[in-house]
Symmetry: C2
Subunit: 336 residues, 2 copies
């Protein structure tokens, strides 16, 4: 008997907040790889806020629809190959793996991964999260030593790495996170100079006080009111790195009216730059970035927190929790 | 008897729309230049939307207050000098001239001007307007041949030059202006490829249709709803040059709630850059810019429209009219 393939489908696209009943677990037949395809056993599914954004409509990925396997990137192992480039046992990164146990994908869509210990680092610091933090600060933010850097969602996968990379570059770093526990983690574990608890009240005032003179580089993962509070604290010639807008993903876009004040007026009087990016824009420089990241991890300058949730069946709750900010560091689902 | 000095004072700072009674004409004694100062006869006062912004509070200039001479830059002639660097007859540009007939200013605050015919070109194409258009497109917008460029307030001083410079660079250029007469001027006189009349309805749809596939560089002089309409028409990797926000100057800031949607989310999915600038940020490159501008004017590639209003007493109405968009090209007051 062929083994079967457990999958998480999208039952319904959410109109407002994402809930468990927007997903459905099913058992499907094993996929069969076609010519030039590879059969993968999925080991770790990467949980990221953007998964909720993909449900809002087409962006840098095609829109998701009800009935299809929930999209997701994963670390996976090749178990059967019809491509000369891969053989059983190879570890690969698959953007289009989907939330399931097995996937048959074109070899051209896979990237072979080097060894890493633990292999989960390939999905955190050596994956999209680490590269996003790295390229966002260094290539988009043009970080300089001595500058004041503010990072939002600072206890998250990207934010915790971005803040530490800014420290390694010789910057003063303030993190924004929700709740005292996360704020303590920022200063005590990750070495941030200060932390602002956005749940404790006026973020604008807290940043004014914590930055001691304004922000040179704001690394934004959230958008909305926190973005605005940082915007009005920017120094002249400051740079805002637009990395993600987690505050805006889990809402009903037809009733969503939030918008940002001070655009573009504040950008002129302060000569600011705002730049949005997607990590793959900088993949030509990936090797150098990975070498730098590995050096910092190996020398313990960069601490990597991972938040590993066991079991494919927990993917929906893990994503819903992530959108509410209940993770610390990189969240992923251990499938096998 | 010493000649007297006619001046336009700020009678009251406006809370909402600027009106004539916010100004007061007075006759004061002739100013007397101190040591290292120069006495100037003011010839042309530059009228610019930013004059209204200076009344809103401190920005790149100190805030204006009731009772003081209305601020304004001017072309002026030296009539008495207590500085070795200037002598009577010199033509200078004075940022801090003020709206008056005579001013005594520190020599260090003046810039000697070369000859030009007509001399008003020193306040338009060879002045702040021309340099703003030049640096905004080339240094901030990183314009490339073949790109699609949209310019707002396109019949204005900066906009009409920016659009023409984009054409000279080999771009496809669409201008946004108010009313059929200005739109006709853009395409027939200034050589724009198309014009969008923002008074005629849906600017988003009109841009979607006129740009034939989106905007690479948006040169924004207005902010507000037109900014948003352009933002949602940007191509991937597009650049927005934030030059001015004329739609936001002549309003009561305490009741002003307008803000822009799509920030920062749209910047991420489209990988956009927004950058605000002030012309003086690029003055290190002024000589090259002026040489380029002069070459284009001399070869008739760049047409310069000026809107010269005669008489100091007409400064208030000329500024109020400018804010309502009644000028074409660079407006200035001929004092003498």
């Amino acid at each position: 008997m062929k083994p079967s393939n457990r999958q998480i489908l999208i039952a319904d696209l959410p109109k407002g907040k994402l809930a468990l009943d927007h997903f459905k677990a099913v058992i499907s037949p094993m996929p069969v790889p076609g010519e030039t395809e590879v059969l993968l056993r999925i080991r770790y599914i990467v949980i990221e806020p953007a998964m909720r954004a993909w449900m809002l409509g087409p962006g840098y990925r095609a829109a998701l629809t009800a009935g299809q396997v929930m999209a997701g990137a994963a670390l996976a192992e090749v178990i059967e190959s019809r491509s000369a480039g891969f053989e059983p046992g190879d570890l690969v990164y698959a953007d289009d793996a989907g939330c399931q146990e097995y996937a048959a994908l074109p070899a051209a869509k896979l990237r072979k991964l080097p060894h890493a210990d633990p292999i989960t680092h390939l999905a955190s610091v050596y994956g999209v999260a680490g590269l996003t933090a790295y390229f966002g600060l260094l290539n988009v933010g043009n970080l300089k030593p001595g500058e004041t850097v503010v990072v939002s969602a600072a206890a998250g996968a990207v934010g915790s790495l971005a803040g530490q990379i800014a420290k390694i570059q010789g910057c003063r770093v303030i993190g924004i996170a929700g709740g005292k526990a996360k704020c303590d983690l920022l200063t005590q574990e990750f070495g941030f100079d200060a932390a602002v608890d956005y749940k404790a009240g006026n973020v604008y005032q807290a940043l004014l006080s914590a930055t001691q003179g304004g922000i040179d580089v704001y690394f934004d993962n959230v958008g909305g009111a926190i973005f605005e509070a940082a915007l009005f604290n920017m120094k002249a010639r400051g740079r805002i790195v637009a990395c993600g807008v987690v505050s805006m993903y889990d809402v009903d876009p037809t009733t969503f009216t939030s918008s940002v004040r001070g655009v573009p007026a504040w950008f002129i009087s302060r000569r600011l730059t705002l730049r949005g990016f997607i990590v793959s824009d900088f993949y030509a420089e990936r090797d150098k970035a990975l070498a730098d990241l590995k050096g910092w991890v190996d020398s313990s300058q960069l601490k990597v927190r991972e938040d590993i949730v066991d079991g494919l069946e927990n993917m929906p709750s893990a994503l819903i929790g992530l959108l509410a900010g209940d993770n610390v560091g990189k969240r992923m689902i251990k499938v096998v």
